[in-house]
């Protein structure tokens, strides 16, 4: 079985994406060639992306193999993305201070294994300090949680 190269995989992914965009664009009025509507440019760009993806695929006969790409940091990456997702979900529900405190505690104490004491001190001081700097000094609105936390 032929080994897939990185460019071949990328070409396939982008080809699929461009076909998806073309499919979704059929719901938007195309207009006419003389008077393009809101759907005209997305369709044109999707075709351009399709052409470029095919070019990438065809040019990807030689190159780095997908199997040679290292994903050694994937566990950390998953944890960080999970924390980002938690922040997005919790920011307006728990408020900035509580959300940041929990996120930093997880990253510092659990993911980076710096210990619970260091994590609590860092997370508490950072969340309160940045809240003061942004919310009070710079007047950047940061969401408040339940009971004004």
């Amino acid at each position: 079985m032929r080994e897939l190269t990185v460019d071949r995989v990328a070409g396939i992914l982008f080809t699929a994406f461009s076909l998806l965009v073309l499919w979704e664009s059929h719901k938007i009025p195309f207009g006419t060639m003389a008077e393009p509507g809101p759907g005209a440019l997305p369709v044109l760009l999707a075709f351009i992306l399709l052409a470029c993806s095919v070019a990438v695929f065809l040019g990807g006969r030689v190159g780095e193999r997908l199997a040679d790409v290292r994903w050694t940091e994937w566990r950390h990456a998953v944890a960080i993305l999970g924390t980002c997702s938690f922040m997005a979900l919790a920011l307006e529900r728990l408020g900035y201070r509580l959300t940041t405190l929990i996120a930093l505690l997880v990253l510092v104490s659990i993911v980076e294994r710096k210990g619970w004491l260091a994590g609590v001190v860092f997370a508490t001081s950072f969340s309160l300090g940045t809240h003061y700097l942004f919310n009070t000094v710079l007047r950047v609105h940061l969401p408040q949680g339940p009971f004004g936390i």
Binding site: A10, I28, P36, L41, V56, A77, I80, V140, H141, L142
Partner: protein, 514 residues
């Protein structure tokens, strides 16, 4: 000439008055501090402080806002260089080589060159603004929708052509960025595209969340697990500054970036973004060692930083001379002037000479203040890198989240940042250059609007793009770049279609070539 110099002396008399000098200093200081915070760029800083200017006279108000703008642009480069988080789209190119210099322990020289390059570019472009504002404004007036469309297409193709990798891959990224820019309400028909029920996407996908995610978050994801990415020891003063070779290597990029940035910045549009991309591409093509770009080439910092600072000044040409803001920040400055009862335009110089020349002179002063303020801070900024990475990246993550959330007070932007971070992580693993995505995203709305306006002007006749001289020349250059850049791909495809030259690639009988 004599009259111009007399007017300039008049302006300096105003700019060097204690109160105006104080506002320039405060503006630069606040701007730098705001710009240093990842994700919080000049637009956020100026928007936050606009109400403060209501009680000031017009000259002081514009001097304060101008100082914030310059300061924030410089501050944005600081985070680009130290943490690979661009403060805004114009700082994206600085991330690439600036951060690589940091990894090599050369953060100080990178920051210093960014400061000096910005100062030189800002000063020289102010001289150009002073003498060339009226005639250049006239030239900018000749740019209608067809010319704007052609310029944007040319900008994208120049970037793709001058990329070190495959042009097909760069164009793929640019097309992806343009498609992302299609999300949201269509300005001409108010049709809501690709929103999937998310009301916040009405204004489209923001540049800041995507830029922070693609560059900053992806870097954190790639570097996770390392305790100290950069070995820092207490730097000596001379290690904070560029050495003789680095000064020599930076000189020409600074001057080229200044000229490019100013000329591109004059044209209404995202000039400071395009100028930094074009400058980087030009420097890479002109360099004797293009292979160094992307791995800590100081030219990759000097050129784009000078270009975006020069374009910032160039953007004042249409704003002051024509009353045409070329971007969001000049638009806010225009609003500030109008709040004070001043209408920028062709009569501004005649009716309010103290404002025009006071602003010009204060730009000189602001540039000097910025250099004096920021060079001593280089050592302080570099020492931030001594914080163990296990503590540093969570802090960066929080700052990025604040910055992104504060743009629209929307968690959708935080989701976009996270998604862009994941996409950036995967794309970097697959060896794709991310910068064209940002350029495509920034240019997409203008590209579409100018294209459709052009056809509206010509009643649907596509020959408008061939009959207008400036448009035709730019599109011809763009087409040439496309054909030259895609030549390897086209040759490969032609060989396949010529019978008997090669077996088809999909055939299992193809022999492996050594």
């Amino acid at each position: 000439m004599v009259e111009t110099l007399q007017n300039l002396m008049f302006g300096f008399g105003l700019a060097l008055s204690p109160s105006v000098l104080m506002y320039a200093f405060v503006g630069c200081l606040v701007g730098t501090l705001v710009g240093v915070l990842p994700g919080v760029g000049p637009l956020a800083g100026i928007s936050l402080l606009l109400p403060v200017t209501f009680g000031l006279d017009p000259t002081s108000a514009i001097v304060l806002l101008g100082g914030i703008y310059y300061g924030a642009m410089y501050g944005g480069s600081t985070t680009s260089i130290l943490m690979r988080i661009p403060g805004e789209a114009a700082s994206v190119m600085t991330c690439i080589d600036g951060y690589e210099m940091t990894l090599k322990g050369r953060a100080g020289p990178a920051l210093a060159i960014a400061a000096v390059g910005s100062f030189v570019a800002g000063t020289l472009s102010i001289v150009a603004l002073m003498f060339l504002a009226p005639p250049l404004a006239e030239f900018a007036l000749r740019f209608g929708p067809p010319e704007m469309f052609a310029l944007l297409v040319l900008g994208l193709l120049v970037l793709a052509y001058m990329s070190s990798g495959s042009m097909a891959k760069s164009l793929t990224m640019a097309a992806l960025g343009l498609l992302l820019g299609m999300v949201g309400i269509d300005t001409m028909s108010a049709f809501f595209r690709f929103h999937y029920g998310v009301v916040e996407l009405g204004d489209g996908i923001g540049v800041v969340p995507v830029a922070v995610g693609l560059f900053g978050i992806s870097e954190i994801l790639l570097s996770a697990g390392q305790d100290n990415k950069v070995v820092i020891r207490t730097p000596r003063l001379r290690e904070l500054l560029p050495d003789r070779t680095e000064w020599r290597q930076s000189a020409a990029p600074i001057y080229r970036g200044t000229v490019l940035g100013f000329l591109i910045g004059i044209i209404p549009g995202p000039g400071h973004v395009i100028s930094s991309f074009v400058s980087y591409s030009v420097e890479r093509r002109l360099s004797k060692h293009p292979e160094h770009f992307g791995h800590g080439a100081i030219e990759g910092v000097a050129g784009p930083e000078s270009a975006n600072n020069s374009a910032t000044t160039g953007a004042f040409v249409p704003m002051l001379a024509l009353g045409l803001p070329s971007g969001a920040v000049p638009a806010i400055m225009l609003a500030a002037l109008m709040i004070h009862g001043i209408a920028p335009g062709p009569m501004l110089i005649k009716e309010h000479p103290e404002l025009f020349w006071g602003v010009i002179a204060s730009m000189y002063v602001g540039n000097v203040v910025l250099l004096i303020l920021n060079l001593p801070f280089v050592g302080l900024f570099v020492n931030v890198l001594r914080i163990p990475y296990g503590y540093l990246y969570p802090a960066i993550l929080v700052f990025a989240t604040i910055g992104v959330y504060s743009v629209n007070n929307s968690v959708v932007d935080v989701w976009i940042m996270a998604g862009a971070g994941l996409a950036g992580y995967v794309l970097r693993k697959l060896n794709f250059d991310l910068a064209p995505i940002i350029l495509g995203l920034v240019l997409a709305p203008m590209l579409e609007l100018s294209f459709r306006q052009s056809l509206a002007m010509s009643a649907g006749d596509y020959t408008i793009f061939a009959t207008r001289p400036i448009t035709a020349v730019m599109l011809l250059v763009a087409l040439t770049l496309l054909l030259v850049g895609m030549r390897p791909n086209l040759t490969r495809m032609l060989k396949w279609w010529v019978p008997g030259r090669l077996e088809p690639a999909a055939s299992g009988e193809r022999k492996e070539h050594p």
